[in-house]
Symmetry: C3
Subunit: 143 residues, 3 copies
């Protein structure tokens, strides 16, 4: 069994959901030589999220943003945490609803995503900036 | 430390939340001989979810479906991803809100679920079909 | 590679979201001597949740509770699972939306949380009582 941990940064993106599979795969490289195991991706932030979803039609990501604005509306009158603007508290809430970490199986030396699954970054701030990820990979060496 | 990975399919179910603990346990068998560790279950789909919840009263699952239809309503007029019908985009959104993966501790050679915890499959499509699961088990051999 | 599993109990808290980072860190102690790896925290309950979010302003937790009451309203007329009161079904739903487990990387012998990340217990019952956690830690010994 081997363990690899690496850190990388996702480049800044505008508010919304973004397909980042390719950027993540480039950062992960050869998956530390692991053939079978688990890959855990962890955002070190409380106003962005990582989730898996449909990897083809960009309209899915636009609809996610639209519906997320219903689930956690900007500037609701009862929010008390408003220091950084109307997108501040909703960003935190969306980070917890969609989650800031993901575990994906590794099989045959690749992430075992389904045909239609891609990795989404949910950028929930208007100006979120670059986002730090800690990747932890555990498993058996590729044979 | 040992690692086991196996794949299985959950049989097709109608739209809604379904208690699948027994079907999952049958597929996992002896948990690869692991006594203490972690079991990761991963759906290779973007329109269904795996979550843990109350394992006794079927009304909980019915209420989950009812409330999930409020969180991601069918056919909202602002959805742009509608190709496969009014349940299409909401299914994707529910997959991300409830999540497509679960990690459960293994203790004493069993999944260390609480007394009232069971594994739910959230089937978010009207006709979702069979659902593929990748199970990755990591841990120490049963003594 | 080493594996450690331990169990602890979070003290009873009122309904709402609570910062429990310190209580969790005390229970985890030296992280089983692991320097690099993963820490998985698992609630053995179906009416409370564990999530990561902002660790400084208590208003964030108050706003989370307020908005969570919109996402899963108490005593909605269509709920069928009402045996234990109007907070019963919403507690189950919030447990699944926010999630009952968390994986956090371990680096340099510490949880690799971001500067602003803390561990929240979402206590979704009026009288939830103490909450049991199973912690599973996997990784390489501290050098």
């Amino acid at each position: 069994m081997i363990l690899r941990q690496l850190r990388f940064t996702l480049r800044p993106r505008p508010r919304g959901f973004h397909l980042v599979t390719r950027e993540v795969l480039e950062a992960l490289g050869e998956l530390g030589g692991i053939g079978t195991g688990l890959c855990h991706l962890f955002l070190q932030h409380s106003s962005a999220s990582l989730t898996l979803n449909e990897n083809t039609d960009p309209a899915v990501r636009e609809d996610f943003e639209a519906q997320a604005r219903h689930l956690a509306p900007d500037g609701a009158p009862y929010y008390r945490h408003n220091l950084e603007g109307p997108d501040d508290l909703p960003a935190h809430l969306k980070a917890s609803l969609f989650g800031s970490g993901l575990s994906i199986p590794i099989a045959d030396g690749r992430l075992a995503l389904g045909t239609w699954q891609g990795i989404y970054l949910g950028e929930h701030r208007e100006q979120g900036g670059p986002r730090r990820v800690v990747a932890t990979l555990l498993g058996e060496k590729r044979g």
